[in-house]
Every structure is written in structure tokens, then in C-alpha cells.
């Protein structure tokens, strides 16, 4: 390698295919995808990883990652990942799920997988609505938030309260690392990447179940431009869904992370 005075500070990750994503402009699904690809590349796991795509906006996630992928039925990604992991234990498995997929349809599968301490990593995208079907109310929709199926705003009297998934899963002994991060600005994105690295390292070290919830924007269904969406996230979502580490098992806190 020839030393020059030009250095690439940042380039498209090797874990990506050259496909253009189908996500709307500004949608942070793309950021979450990129962070996963970067972390797996940095860990040298690209050739050892199998991803499980959800039903929802990320249903075609497998088109964008450059490694083996399967596509689950709605909500069942943790079960599907379990089936693969128990069959091929040396592989790195992750599910990529939205809030309808994970916190509504698949609440049974995710709780059971976490309780079993299943050696998988879950990336959970919380954008407070069902993106793919056009912005309906999700389990994560905030009180009073208007969606296409709560047109007057979510009425907690009749439509119940949002689910704080990270806090909920953190109560389970089988969950080793559960964190929430946000994708609304550069600093938060850098923090999210570190959490994802920890989550995948937990799996690589055989320390159990790990999940990172990522607060995301949905400009199209929120009816806001990118910038206003990011502000909305900061103003409305962060107070209800605080970022933080909700579960760090003793073994995880003592874990040494190699690489950068």
C-alpha cells in the first residue's frame, strides 16, 4: 500500500450491496443499516453473519446487505433466528425488526427469545408507527399522537399506552444487554454505533441475548420534512423513550471489546 497524504475518512461499507434502498428520503432505516454493516465489517464478521429481515418497511433489507439473509413471517424473526442459531451455533445472527413487527405481532417471540437468553442480536427500529402500511398506530405510538388509524390522536383510554420495549425486555434475566439509542443527530448516531458494537460483541462472546432499540424518524408518514422529523423525535420521543443502557449483565460489563 502506497502512503499518500490523502486518506479516506469515510466510505460506503463493504457489508452493503450496490442497491439503492427503497426507503423514503431521510428515513433513518438507512442509517441503522449502515451502522450494522460497519460494525460487522469492523468485527470481521461479514462472512459469518446471517440476517433475519422482518415484515414492515425493512422487508427488503436483505437486498442491501452483502451476506446471507432470510425473510421472516411478521413478528417471528426472533424464532427464525433461534432456529438458525441452534442449528449453526457458530454463526452470528441478527434480526432487524420494526415496532409493529417486534412490539405488536411478535411480542411473544421477542420476549421468549430474550428470556431464553438466545444468543442472537436484535435491532429494533422504533418510529412510533407502521411505516409500510401507511402510518397506522403502533404499540409505540405516543399518547395523543395522530396516525392514520388514530386520527384524533392516540386516546389512551381506548387505545392503551405505548410499550417501552427496552425497559420491558431489560426485566428478563435472559437478556444480557439491552439499550436504547437515537438516530436523530450525528452524536446520537455515533453512540448508537457503539451500542450495536457492544450488542454484537455480546453474541460473539456467547454472553446471551442483546437488543438495541433505535429511535427513528418516519418523515413520510409523520408528514414532516427530514429536519422537522428529527426535531419531533428529540422533542416528543426522547422524553418518553429515554436513551440509555437498561440492562448490562455483569459479564457484559466485564467484556473486553477488541478492535477500535
Amino acid at each position: 500500500m502506497v502512503e499518500t497524504d490523502v486518506k479516506i475518512v469515510y466510505k460506503r461499507p463493504a457489508g452493503f450491496t450496490d442497491r439503492v434502498t427503497h426507503y423514503c428520503p431521510g428515513c433513518t432505516h438507512g442509517v441503522a443499516h449502515r451502522l450494522i454493516a460497519e460494525v460487522l465489517e469492523e468485527m470481521g464478521e461479514l462472512n459469518n453473519t446471517i440476517g433475519v429481515a422482518p415484515v414492515g418497511c425493512a422487508v427488503f433489507a436483505y437486498n442491501y446487505f452483502n451476506f446471507d439473509f432470510v425473510e421472516a413471517a411478521h413478528g417471528r424473526a426472533p424464532a427464525m433466528a433461534t432456529g438458525i442459531k441452534r442449528t449453526l451455533p457458530s454463526k452470528t445472527l441478527f434480526t432487524y425488526q420494526g415496532d409493529g413487527d417486534l412490539a405488536s405481532m411478535g411480542m411473544g417471540e421477542i420476549v421468549a427469545a430474550a428470556a431464553r437468553g438466545e444468543q442472537i442480536t436484535v435491532i429494533f427500529i422504533n418510529n412510533t408507527n407502521y411505516g409500510m402500511t401507511g402510518g397506522q398506530m403502533a404499540p409505540t405510538t405516543l399518547p395523543g399522537q395522530k396516525t392514520s388509524s388514530s386520527p384524533l390522536g392516540r386516546d389512551v383510554e381506548t387505545q392503551g399506552y405505548p410499550i417501552r420495549t427496552a425497559e420491558l425486555l431489560a426485566t428478563l434475566d435472559g437478556a444480557s444487554f439491552v439499550a436504547r439509542r437515537s438516530l436523530h443527530d450525528a452524536r446520537s448516531i455515533r453512540m448508537a454505533k457503539r451500542a450495536l458494537r457492544t450488542a454484537f460483541e455480546v453474541q460473539k462472546h456467547g454472553l446471551g441475548f442483546s437488543m438495541v432499540e433505535l429511535l427513528s424518524i418516519c418523515p413520510t408518514n409523520w408528514g414532516l420534512n427530514t429536519e422537522d422529523s428529527r426535531k419531533w423525535l428529540a422533542e416528543h420521543m426522547l422524553p418518553y423513550y429515554p436513551v440509555g443502557d437498561f440492562k448490562v449483565s455483569t459479564a457484559v460489563s466485564e467484556m473486553k471489546i477488541g478492535g477500535n
Binding site: D68, G83, L88, E109
Partner: protein
């Protein structure tokens, strides 16, 4: 090769281990639970995968994941649990994946009861999940046959990359019979080139049931139908008893077929030219055999532990060339050989009208039998 006295559920579990089962995912439900219990001890002991899932939905989707590796995987359940699994069965079919599902059928609908039944014929043979797909359905009539068909189930699941269902009833699952278990097969632990995690695939493997473009979905379905045609040509299995000179034929599978055989033997002893056709593959159905018989015999009697789910298939093949009588018990009630013997007499001594409403006649009889008046 020693004969061992083993319960059906456990025999199937052990046969699966010997066929090279790599991972099992299930949920307890009577009358299937011993199968799961046996594997909960044996699979970890052999260093293989076992998970007692959170639900049948969880179990079938774990199978879905495991099947994506192309390695041998299985689940087992009973009727209400299999209803829950239909989602995953459709996805398995839509992704062309091999998997074995054992359904130890019990009485229904709803929660029903835990007694033996054959009322899952329709949900397994004619789908149950959404979309257009087929499942190969094998129906043993003894514990030994269940053991033998378990190995076959894995082989043909792999050969055609399809779901194979081993359809038992609670009777076969719970009954103890002397069996010879097969030899241990080598366990394949490296995925084939089409499976995820395979070291042999030339490019990355993506397995999905999505065909977002309708013409592409249609093309896929044509491919699946063509495969099914091949399976219909190659995989039909049935057992014939006294059919060479038979003037009357009883058709029954599994436990009902076995009980019918006793009645057929008794009728033979009385000099009646009667035989039994016992389908072993319910899907693909022994259509050609029934068709040939329809051209030469005087009448059929279909015997089932259901309301005539297979009867409809037989009627479609016979197409009124001969009368098709029906005798069934439902809701977990198992018929006695006497009852079938009576039905045989009625067939032989009846008016041989191919247009008669056999199910209506049977239902009128049943109303009386269960005390529902005229």
C-alpha cells in the same frame, strides 16, 4: 435388530434421531407430548438442537429458520397446535424448504378433546395455510410403519425441498407396539450450497417467500405445481389387501384403515369378495389405483375417523361410476370393527345406486346414534 416395545410418539422421535435430525422445536400438547419429552433428553445428549418454544407459532418459525440451513429439522404437535403452525407451513412452502411436521391428530374442532381423530385430513392434505402449495402427507397405520415413514419423510422432504407431514392420530401416538428401530444415519451438519451459512455457496444466500411481482409469483407457483406433478407420478404409496378379485372395496387410512382391515377379513371369511385399499400417502393421493378400481368394482366404502374429509376426494375420482358409501366417527370416537362390518353389509346388500346421498344417509344414522332424534 431387536424388537422393542415402544410407544408411537417415542418411536417416531427416536426414528427421527436415527434419520439424522439436527434440530427440533416443539411445544407440549396432548396426545403428542412424549415425542417432545423424548427429544428434550436425547437431542442435548447427542449435541443436537432442541428448543421447547413459547408456542406452536414460535416452534414452526424456529423450524422455518432451521430449514433455511437445509439441515434436518422437525416439529411435532397435535391439531390445535398445527392450526397455529399453518402460517409457518405456508412460508416454508413459499421458500421451498424441507421440514418434517408430525401431527398427532385429536378430536375437534376448537379445543375439542385429546382422543384419536382423523379430522386434520383437510387441513394437511388440502392446505390450511394461505396461498397455493402442497404438503406431502404420510399416514402410517402402525408404530412400525410410523418409524419407517419417519426416515422416508426426511428423505423426500430433502429430495423435493418440501414440507412432509407425518399424520398420526392419538391412537398411534399413544399405543405401544413392538418395533425394529432403524440404524443411525450419519448426521449432516454442513448446510448444502443453497442453505444459509453454507461454505459451498458461490454467492450469498437469500431465502425469502416474497415475490412482489405477480408474474414472478405465478412463475414460482407453476414451478411448484410442476414439482407436485412429479411427486404425484413418483411418490404415491398405498397398501392393498385382497384387491385382486374384490367386488367391493373399503378405503381407509391410518387407524381407521387398520380397524377396517379386521372387518374386511371377517367379511372375507364369510365369503364376500371384498378388499381394502389403505392409502399411505394421503397427498399425493392414490388416485390412479382408485380410478382403476372404480372401473371394475361394484361399490366402495370409505371409512374415516372424521366427517368424510377423504370421502370428497374419493367421490371426485370415482365420479359416480360406482356407489361410494361412507362410515365415519367423529370428535375423538374410534369405530369398532363391528360397526364397519355392518357398513360393509349395507354396501353389499344395498341398492348400488351411484347417485345416492351416502353422507346424508350416514348423518341420519349418526343423529340416531348420538340421540338427536329423527
Amino acid at each position: 435388530m431387536a424388537l422393542e416395545l415402544i410407544k408411537g410418539n417415542i418411536a417416531v422421535a427416536e426414528a427421527a434421531i436415527r434419520a439424522g435430525l439436527v434440530s427440533y422445536f416443539g411445544y407440549p400438547i396432548t396426545p403428542q407430548t412424549e415425542l417432545l419429552e423424548h427429544l428434550s433428553a436425547r437431542m442435548p445428549e447427542l449435541g443436537r438442537g432442541f428448543v421447547q418454544a413459547e408456542s406452536e407459532l414460535g416452534a414452526i418459525n424456529m423450524v422455518y429458520g432451521a430449514a433455511c440451513t437445509g439441515l434436518r429439522t422437525m416439529t411435532s404437535s397435535s391439531s390445535p397446535g398445527v392450526s397455529l403452525m399453518q402460517e409457518g407451513i405456508s412460508y416454508l412452502a413459499g421458500t421451498e424448504l424441507p421440514a418434517v411436521i408430525v401431527d398427532v391428530v385429536r378430536g375437534g374442532p376448537g379445543l375439542g378433546n385429546i382422543a384419536p381423530s382423523q379430522s386434520d385430513y383437510t387441513q394437511m392434505v388440502h392446505g390450511g395455510g394461505h396461498g397455493e402449495y402442497h404438503v406431502i402427507v404420510l399416514a402410517p397405520a402402525s408404530v412400525q410403519e410410523a418409524v419407517d415413514l419417519t426416515g422416508l419423510a426426511f428423505d423426500i422432504a430433502e429430495k423435493y425441498r418440501m414440507v412432509v407431514c407425518l399424520l398420526l392420530d392419538g391412537f398411534l401416538g399413544q399405543m405401544m407396539e413392538p418395533v425394529v428401530l432403524p440404524e443411525f444415519q450419519p448426521v449432516r451438519t454442513i448446510p448444502p450450497a443453497w442453505g444459509v451459512g453454507s461454505p459451498d455457496s458461490k454467492e450469498r444466500v437469500v431465502l425469502t417467500s416474497i415475490n412482489i411481482d405477480p408474474p414472478s409469483q405465478e412463475k414460482f407457483n407453476v414451478k411448484m405445481m410442476t414439482r407436485w406433478q412429479e411427486i404425484e407420478a413418483n411418490e404415491v404409496r398405498f397398501k392393498s389387501y385382497y384387491l385382486e378379485d374384490a367386488e367391493y372395496v373399503v378405503i381407509g387410512y391410518g387407524t381407521a384403515g387398520r380397524i377396517a382391515l379386521s372387518a374386511v377379513r371377517a367379511a372375507r371369511e364369510q365369503g364376500h369378495k371384498i378388499g381394502l385399499l389403505r392409502p399411505i400417502t394421503l397427498a399425493p393421493f392414490p388416485t390412479k389405483a382408485v380410478d382403476e378400481l372404480a372401473a371394475r368394482v361394484k361399490g366402495f366404502l370409505v371409512v374415516e375417523m372424521s366427517n368424510g374429509q377423504m370421502l370428497d376426494d374419493v367421490n371426485a375420482i370415482v365420479a359416480k361410476r360406482a356407489p361410494v358409501d361412507f362410515y365415519g366417527r367423529m370428535g375423538g370416537v374410534v369405530p369398532y370393527p363391528d360397526e364397519i362390518a355392518n357398513a360393509i353389509s349395507e354396501l353389499i346388500n344395498g341398492d348400488h345406486d351411484p347417485n345416492a346421498d351416502a353422507r346424508g344417509k350416514w348423518l341420519a344414522y349418526m343423529r340416531k346414534l348420538v340421540g338427536m332424534g329423527e
